[in-house]
């Protein structure tokens, strides 16, 4: 069995994951095995999406021509491979099946990238395509260490909200390299065959600690007039906005974890300095925004 640390968990796996962080431990939190899976989940409490069955303690996802993932009790993922595309098999395990593991364990993933800052982390939280990875990469080029890409896991310890990273890989579109100045030499592999999205590993600087969130930049807000600005919202505005950034919300809802998410989100907004980035998604304002973020951080 391979042994990894990922999403705050000790993971034993029959499948090799170059994306995850190799780690040694005695007792795993989660075990990933190859095996047979059911084709559907019966029962009254099951919620169906177009290709998944979701119950509070059980999740079944079918990705056609790739594989089927059966997640049980937050401690097992049974993977039935369909076809031979290993990379794609790993992609959907790390995105959707791991989200199910987390929710089943009452751990809340947030759609956010982050960089290390003052013995804690600064999060860039927003929906897909809001610029999370590109901003984190731009800051990396200015000397900040990337904490996590796309997802962070939140947990409450002694009344404090801490964040844990997912795994040491940035997923970047081909044009993000030119935009941020990151060399493509270090990202030779695409995330999936046929997709112009590349994997950039940062295992050498990865940390596995749960650390406090110092600041959060919320990246969602559209501004049709096109000017970009960073403003400090009031509590309710920040709380409303951060709720839009839950990860895999169908799972969150179907597993009944919305209340827990509210509680962590409100704790987070209370404890960290929150900024809202308003920009026109179509205007190319990331460079300007990155500069302003750096000014705020320094």
């Amino acid at each position: 069995m391979y042994q990894y640390w990922g999403f705050g968990l000790h993971i034993s796996s029959e499948i090799e994951f170059p994306e995850l962080f190799p780690f040694t431990f005695e007792v795993p939190d989660v075990v990933i095995r190859l095996g047979e899976t059911p084709k559907s989940l019966p029962g009254d409490e099951v919620t169906q999406t177009i290709n998944a069955y979701i119950k509070p303690a059980e999740y079944l996802l079918t990705m056609r021509d790739i594989g089927r993932y059966h997640v049980i009790n937050g401690n097992q993922i049974i993977v039935e491979q369909i076809g031979n595309d290993n990379k794609s098999l790993r992609v959907f395990l790390l995105s959707n099946a791991m989200a199910a593991v987390l929710y089943q364990r009452n751990m809340i993933p947030l759609h956010a990238s982050g960089v290390l800052y003052k013995e804690g982390v600064v999060l860039f939280s927003g929906h897909s395509r809001s610029g999370k990875s590109t901003i984190a990469t731009s800051l990396k080029m200015k000397g900040y260490s990337v904490f996590s890409d796309d997802v962070c896991v939140l947990k409450e310890v002694d009344g404090k909200i801490l964040a844990m990273p997912s795994y040491p890989m940035l997923k970047l579109w081909e044009d993000s390299f030119a935009k941020t100045g990151l060399s493509m030499e270090e990202a030779k592999e695409t995330v999936r065959p046929g997709l112009a999205k590349y994997a950039h590993f940062f295992h050498h600087s990865f940390i596995t600690d749960a650390i406090p969130v110092r600041k959060i930049f919320l990246l969602n807000t559209d501004n049709p007039l096109g000017t970009a600005e960073i403003v400090k919202p009031g509590f309710m505005e920040a709380f409303t906005e951060i709720q839009k950034n839950s990860y895999r919300p169908s799972q969150l809802n179907a597993m009944g974890k919305r209340k827990l998410f509210f509680s962590l989100a409100s704790g987070l907004v209370n404890a960290a300095s929150v900024y809202m980035v308003r920009r026109n998604e179509k205007a190319d304002s990331l460079e300007q925004i990155t500069k302003e973020i750096i000014t705020i951080l320094s």
């Binding site: 290709n51 970047l172 999205k197 559209d222 179509k282």
Partner: protein, 287 residues
């Protein structure tokens, strides 16, 4: 799939053919004549929206291949339709086509009908050039390209809010919607919408079986979406459906502008490719 109701209404068109105008009209109509162009409560979704897709499916849109997206789209909209009580209007620029599973990408099983907006391709050239920052010749190449893709993804997908869409050429697009047999489609010419706004919009509402609106209510909604009103709203508030802020979305809003915009050679380039369907829709050589 018992209990499925047919409640999706597609507002289909080649880009810049009056689709947005009609969507804004519906918003004003359903909202007692009031309109905020940046906060639409009706027809705010486009078929190719990645965030809509993600919200319904819980799948990461940017990690899927085009073939997978085409397979999942009808499932996503079927799933969505089954949670809706009332009609839902959805804008679509995709040509009507089938996935590799021979399923139409627009799910017929939950579709009530479609409106398809048609505009003279000679006038489209200038409008497309303005909207997509193209030269006139590039806009004509777009109209004439049988394999044209909208929101082309290539290597720069990260800011793309929409999936790549098969648009085809203007004729290819229009023909694909003419060939639909799965549900009723009403074709509306932009030029008729301009000339006889009230009659055409009322005809569309009758087709949709929305017969409870009075002429006064329809008139009020038409007034709220007058071209000058929309231009003014865009100037003061911006318009979030614009591709960038370097142009006016609501440009001229008239028919026949091509006579000042195109050279004889450019006109010929368009007519030679689209002659057949231009005739069919009354865009005659002397028009």
């Amino acid at each position: 799939m018992s209990g499925t109701s047919k409640n999706l209404v597609w507002l289909a068109s080649y880009p810049k053919s009056g689709n947005t105008w009609f969507r804004l009209f519906l918003n004003a109509l359903f909202n007692n004549g009031k309109l905020d162009i940046n906060h639409l409560s009706t027809a705010d979704t486009i078929f190719s929206s990645k965030s809509f897709f993600e919200e319904v499916s819980d799948l990461p849109a940017d990690l899927l291949l085009e073939e997978e997206v085409k397979r999942y789209l009808p499932l996503v909209f079927t799933d969505f339709a089954m949670t809706q009580q009332d009609d839902v209007f959805i804008k679509v620029h995709d040509a009507f086509q089938y996935s590799k599973d021979e399923q139409s990408i627009i799910p017929a099983v939950v579709t009530k009908c479609a409106l398809c907006f048609i505009r003279n391709p000679l006038d489209l050239a200038g409008s497309l050039a303005n909207h997509y920052s193209l030269s006139m010749d590039e806009a004509i190449s777009m109209l004439n390209d049988p394999l044209y893709k909208l929101a082309k993804q290539d290597n720069r997908r990260y800011r793309r809010g929409q999936f790549q869409q098969d648009l085809f050429s203007w004729s290819g697009h229009v023909q694909s919607w003419l060939d639909v047999t799965e549900f009723p489609v009403l074709f509306l010419r932009y030029e008729d919408m301009l000339m006889n706004t009230f009659a055409v919009f009322k005809e569309a509402l009758e087709f949709l079986q929305y017969t409870s609106f009075t002429d006064t209510e329809i008139g009020k909604a038409i007034e709220a979406t007058g071209f000058k009103r929309l231009q003014e709203a865009e100037r003061t508030d911006g318009f979030r459906e614009k591709l960038n802020n370097n142009y006016s979305f609501f440009r001229k809003g008239k028919a026949g502008g091509w006579k000042e915009e195109l050279t004889a050679e450019q006109v010929q380039k368009i007519r030679s490719v689209h002659h057949h369907l231009m005739q069919q829709f009354g865009y005659h050589d002397n028009a």
